[in-house]
Symmetry: C2
Amino acid sequence: MTALKAWPNAVCHVTMCAMTDGIGIIGAGVAGLHLGLYLQQHGVPHTIYSDKSAEQVARGRMLNTVAHHNTTVKREQALGVDHWDLREYGYFCHHHYIGPTPETPELRFPGDFEAPSRAIDYRVYLPKLIEDYTSRGGDFRVQPSVGPDDLAKATEGHDLVVVSTGKAGLSSMFPVRRDGMPFEAPARLLCGGLYHGITYSDPKGVTMSVAPGHGEVLEIPMYSRDGFVTVLLFENVPGGDTEVLAHANYEEDPKAFNDLVLDKLKTHHPAIFERVDHASFGLTGPEDVVQGAIRPTMREDYAELPDGRFAIAVGDAHNVVDPVIGQGANSASYSAYTLGEAITEDPNFDERFCRTYAARRADRVNAIFDWTNLMIGLPPAPHLLQVLGSMSASRPLADEFTNNFNYPERQWDNLATPARAQAFLARHGLG
Amino acid sequence: MTALKAWPNAVCHVTMCAMTDGIGIIGAGVAGLHLGLYLQQHGVPHTIYSDKSAEQVARGRMLNTVAHHNTTVKREQALGVDHWDLREYGYFCHHHYIGPTPETPELRFPGDFEAPSRAIDYRVYLPKLIEDYTSRGGDFRVQPSVGPDDLAKATEGHDLVVVSTGKAGLSSMFPVRRDGMPFEAPARLLCGGLYHGITYSDPKGVTMSVAPGHGEVLEIPMYSRDGFVTVLLFENVPGGDTEVLAHANYEEDPKAFNDLVLDKLKTHHPAIFERVDHASFGLTGPEDVVQGAIRPTMREDYAELPDGRFAIAVGDAHNVVDPVIGQGANSASYSAYTLGEAITEDPNFDERFCRTYAARRADRVNAIFDWTNLMIGLPPAPHLLQVLGSMSASRPLADEFTNNFNYPERQWDNLATPARAQAFLARHGLG
């Protein structure tokens, strides 16, 4: 064709599409690994760059307090990394406790999942997936994190760069969205830890305990390095009675720390406190606590590199959310998996690719961000309180709310506005 | 719940979601009818408002030169309106003719669909669907078109308004998108008509005949009021040798008109001319010709009405495209069907609903708009010429291009940029 004359760089284009080094994945958290495992499964050339080896992750401090809901478990099954039988390692429901207020009595009510969720300590989970990945021939490179300025050079030869970690300031490559920082300051000060000495609820589930005005505790049955233990994630309202937990130093005085935790459970979270075995209760170890705060932030989906290639943000590099409803890791896995699908469907890694992929994941990822922020907003939105209160009077309502932890976009369809909450209640004959 | 106090207007919200009068659909073209049939099938209350009765449509002038590709036929099957057996009424391929240029010889090559397309005159098609709809109990109201100012009043009681016609200036409710008017002036001046006296190609297909510098002819085997006839849609480049057809007046001198058409076919479109039976050739009647021009326009997806309800644009109200690749009706049907799905999934007709629906249809609808505009752009993009030329050398390439008339977003994945076109060719071992 004469038109061929018009293509001096045709060869480089063709090379691009032959994908010399394929995809460069920065970060080996759940997003990086789920994407790597997906691309491996579909024969797409790629490399995972991690700043830690499997051993370093396994021997390190507790990373987070993550639960995987069943939609994420289904992705793990598809990726061939479903190593923990749900009958033994899964949990099946949410137990809700809402403390009394001047106007309302204490409320206790359960909500069921249609299929189980699962919480595995990431110091067990991530090393196992790294082992799966490398044993299947994956190209897993351990090297120091690169910053935004070194990224292009460090990923030379890759046709697309996927940034799945916020480490080394990489997030800053993706500007915060106009609506991407809804809070002036963190809405909760966190104290998450692993504990011995708490009998699991029956049926085995996560307890979401709310102390009005002071914050929440998530009690999660988790499998960790020492076997089955319990996560207590204190979500403390700044200035509330439990904020002290975000600053308490375990290593200085382990007994005082454990006593303080027990005291706050006793005062604000009886539905958990009543299952404590005082003889054996305590943090499982000095490395098993995370304290701090997360400022919810949503960033742009992609950025163009100086050489014209594109970098796509997934997981923490794209957005961070408060752990109050345990959606962060599920959001990261979803973003990674859908990116894998997009890569196999359209290996043209230009701005159209980035925009189409961003649109594909937007509904769920944005819903997780908005729903999480609604849950920690202060004062709580009246329509949220009404829904939570109504759940105590309607098991079907509570079950739908609980199962929608798997479908955050559906949850947001029910909660996004007061009118939507009313329609949600009306559909259940309430409100 | 005490929070209930916070909802003086709870009742109206609940009413909203009970959908008093449900959906108000303005317009009874393919979009309005496919949406109405979908909602009818799913038990969603609604009304179709049309400015014409089935009889008026059946007895009227030719409306367009529409073909339905198989993805649209599949929607017709799902809606129970697949009345025209594809073995008899369908067509199976595209026959391409590209006239010679100083640098390139004449090219002739076919491309196959995986499943047949079908062209039924809308004066047969629409009345049949109106009959289906009303015989199934549909609320079909014939009344004069309302303009933008009367729309809210005319649709009072409906929870959502769907505007599927641009008549009476309704399009103006939806502002033109910033990138929504890519041409200063129409790129083609049209003369579409129904003709006797052209033997169908074998295998039965649409012939896309290109006269470089002058425009295209689409020859479509269509079933019309008088049975099987042939559409000749002349897409005339302004200033080109065939522009005269856009202005020729059939009624003034039918023989002169037919002779002019024959002369232009003979000069520029031999692949069609050679199948003409001169004894019987001619326009099927004075009402069977449409002349004019379409200025491609893409508008915003929705608008808020003064009373806070929302109106969503589908079909011509949302965008109009040149008929050169016969995608307009398929786009309208797709928009209508996906809107029906969205309505049954989330009956909260607020801005979130409109935004989520808009995102859902965006990839295909935008691809149709962009691809169509690439096809009529002047001068033709070199990468488009290269792909068309390469199709003559690669049957798999021609078949993929042809079948992608069913999947415009995939076509655009292959054509959106020169680099993508190179990757498309490279995937077929070309370029």
